[in-house]
Amino acid sequence: MMRDAKAIPIIGPIDPIDPTGTPWTLPYRGTVGMVCLIVAESAIFIIFVVAYIFYIGKSLSGPTPAQVLELPIFGTVCLLSSSITLHFAVAALRKGRSSACTAWLAGTVLLGSIFLASTAREWYHLIHEEGLTIKTNLFGTTYYSLVGLHATHVVVGLIMLSLVLGFSFFGLVREEHSEKLEVLSLYWHFVDAVWVVVFMVVYVLGR
C-alpha cells in the first residue's frame, strides 16, 4: 500500500561515485535555443525550396529563369564576406578588444546592407523591365517567395546586428557578452548558408 510519504529532504546525498565534485557542465542555453530556431527555420526554407524545384519548367507562360536571371555574384560575395567579418568580430570580443569588435560589426552591417541593396536592384529590374512579378507565372511565384523569405531573414539579422553595433559603439558590449554575440552570429551564418542553397537552386540549377 502507499504509505504516508514523509517530507523528503531536498538535498540529495553526495554523489558516491564522484565525491570530489567535478563540474557539472551543460551546454549554453543561448546556443541550444538558437540551434533549435535554426532547425525550425531550415524546415520552412526547405519547403519553399521544394516548391521551387517542383515548379521548375512548369510555368504555362511568361519569362523563364534563363531569360531574365543573372548571377548575383557581387551581392553573394558581399553577403558571404559579411560572415567572415562577423566571425572576426566575435573573435575580437572574446579577446576583449571591443573597439575592434565594433569595427568588424560595422563591416558586417555594411556588407549585409549592400547585399540587400543589390537584391532590391535586381527586383526593380525584374519587375519594371522584365515584367516578372509574383503573379506572372509559377516561376515568379516561387522566385519572389523564396528570395523574399531569405531577404526578410537578412533584414531581421541586420536589425539585430545594428542594435549590437549601436551598443558596441557606446562601449556597452564587453568580453562577457561574447557568448551572446556568438549566438547571434550563428543566426547570421545560417542566413548565409541559406543563401548558398538559394543561389545554387535558383541561379544555377534552375536556369
Binding site: 500500500m1 502507499m2 504509505r3 504516508d4
Partner: protein
C-alpha cells in the same frame, strides 16, 4: 491517513472492468459479422461486385484476421496481468521485485512484429501492383469523368456521348471481359469517386488525370458518393453506376447518341418551354445536343428525362421536383451553384414540360 477509500478497487472490480471490455469486443464482432453477412447496405465494402473490390476484400480479410489475433493475444495478456498482479491487502508494506528489463525479451518482441510487418507488407504490395500497375486491355471501355461542384460529368470519347450524374457501363465477366477505365479530372476542386461495391476510391483532382478501372460482374445499380470534401454540397454529390448487359448497354448508347428530343406534337407547353429555355440564361450553363444550348458549366441535359434523379442524386426526377428545382435549386440543394432563374409560373410549367420530354 489512508488516501484510498476503504472499498478499494479490488480484483473484483477489475474483473468487472475486464468483462465489460470483453463484452464490448464480443458485441462488436457479432455486429460486424451481421453486417458483412447480410450486406443490407448498398455501399458495404464487404459486398464486392467487381475485381478491384474483390481483391481489396480478400486483403482486408487477411489484415482483419491478423490484427484480430494480435488484439486477442495482447489484450488477453494485459487482462491477465491486471487481474493476476492486482494489489492485495497483504501486500501493503513491501514492494514487488524491481525488474528493470531484459534484452532477450526486447529482442523477441521486436523481431516477431517485424516479421508480421514484412508479411503484411508483401501481401499488400501484391494487391497494389495488381490493381494499379497492370496494363490496360485493348478492349476496355473508356469513360472520362470530370468532377464538378457538385455533380459528375461523364464523357464517352469514342462514342461521342456526354452525360451527367448517371454512369452507364457494360458488365464484365469471364465470358465477355470488358472493364471500364475511368480517366478522371476535376473542373474545380478536389473530389473523390467512391462506389464501394465496385472499387476503392480515387481522388479527382484539377490539373491532374487519375485513372481507375471497374468491371462489375452483375447488371444492376451501384451507388456511391463523392468522398473528398469539396464544398457546401459535398454530401449530395452522389454517384449512380448502372451496369448493363451488352444488349442493354448498346441500346442505351444509341439512345444517348440521339440529339435532344423535340417531339412537340400535341404538347404545346413543351414547344413553348423549348423557346423559353433557348431565350434564357439556361443555355450559358447547359447543353442540349441539336440546339443552340452549348454551355458546359452545368450538366448536359440532352437526355435529362432518362435519368432517375436530379441534382446528382439529391432528389428523384419527377416533374414536380424538376419544377421546384428550376424555380429555386437552393431550396432543394442549398449551396449548389445553379442560381434561381426567377421565372414566372407559366414559364416554369412550360420549361418543365419541355425538360420532361427530353428522354
Amino acid at each position: 491517513m489512508s488516501l484510498f477509500p476503504r472499498r478499494q478497487m479490488t480484483g473484483c472490480s477489475k474483473v468487472r472492468l475486464a468483462s465489460v471490455r470483453a463484452f464490448w469486443v464480443l458485441v462488436c464482432c457479432v455486429v460486424l459479422c451481421r453486417c458483412t453477412a447480410t450486406a443490407e447496405s448498398p455501399t458495404s465494402i464487404f459486398a464486392p461486385a467487381a475485381t478491384p473490390a474483390h481483391s481489396i476484400f480478400d486483403l482486408s480479410m487477411l489484415v482483419l484476421s491478423i490484427t484480430l489475433a494480435i488484439f486477442l493475444i495482447v489484450a488477453g495478456l494485459l487482462l491477465y496481468a491486471l487481474i493476476r498482479y492486482r494489489h492485495r491487502p497483504e501486500d501493503a508494506h513491501h514492494e514487488p521485485a524491481q525488474v528493470y528489463g531484459s534484452n532477450q525479451i526486447e529482442l523477441s518482441w521486436t523481431v516477431i512484429p517485424i516479421l508480421i510487418v514484412v508479411m503484411l507488407f508483401l501481401t499488400t504490395a501484391r494487391v497494389i501492383i495488381g490493381t494499379q500497375a497492370i496494363p490496360k486491355p485493348s478492349n476496355a471501355m473508356n469513360v472520362t469523368v470530370i468532377g464538378h461542384q457538385f455533380w459528375w460529368e461523364y464523357r464517352y470519347p469514342k462514342l461521342g456521348i456526354v452525360t451527367a450524374n448517371e454512369l452507364h457501363i457494360p458488365v464484365s465477366n469471364v465470358a465477355n471481359s470488358m472493364p471500364t477505365y475511368l480517366n478522371m479530372s476535376s473542373a474545380d476542386v478536389v473530389h473523390s469517386f467512391w462506389v464501394p461495391r465496385l472499387a476503392g476510391k480515387t481522388d479527382v483532382i484539377p490539373n491532374r488525370v487519375n485513372t481507375m478501372w471497374i468491371d462489375p460482374e452483375q447488371p444492376g445499380l451501384y451507388v456511391g458518393q463523392c468522398a473528398q470534401y469539396c464544398g457546401m454540397q459535398h454530401a449530395k454529390m452522389l454517384i449512380r453506376v448502372y451496369a448493363q448487359s451488352p444488349a442493354d448497354f448498346a441500346a442505351w448508347i444509341s439512345q444517348q447518341k440521339q440529339p435532344g428530343r423535340q417531339d412537340f406534337a400535341g404538347n404545346p407547353a413543351a414547344a413553348e418551354g423549348h423557346a423559353v429555355f433557348m431565350h434564357n440564361a439556361c443555355i450559358n450553363c447547359h447543353a442540349i445536343s441539336g440546339t443552340v444550348a452549348t454551355g458546359r458549366f452545368g450538366p448536359d441535359l440532352t437526355h435529362l428525362a432518362s435519368r432517375d434523379t436530379i441534382g446528382s442524386g439529391a432528389i428523384q426526377n419527377t416533374p414536380e421536383n424538376l419544377r421546384k428545382w428550376v424555380d429555386d435549386p437552393n431550396s432543394l440543394k442549398p449551396g449548389c451553384l445553379m442560381p434561381a432563374m426567377h421565372l414566372n409560373d407559366h414559364d416554369l410549367d412550360a420549361i418543365t414540360a419541355y425538360l420532361t420530354q427530353l428522354r
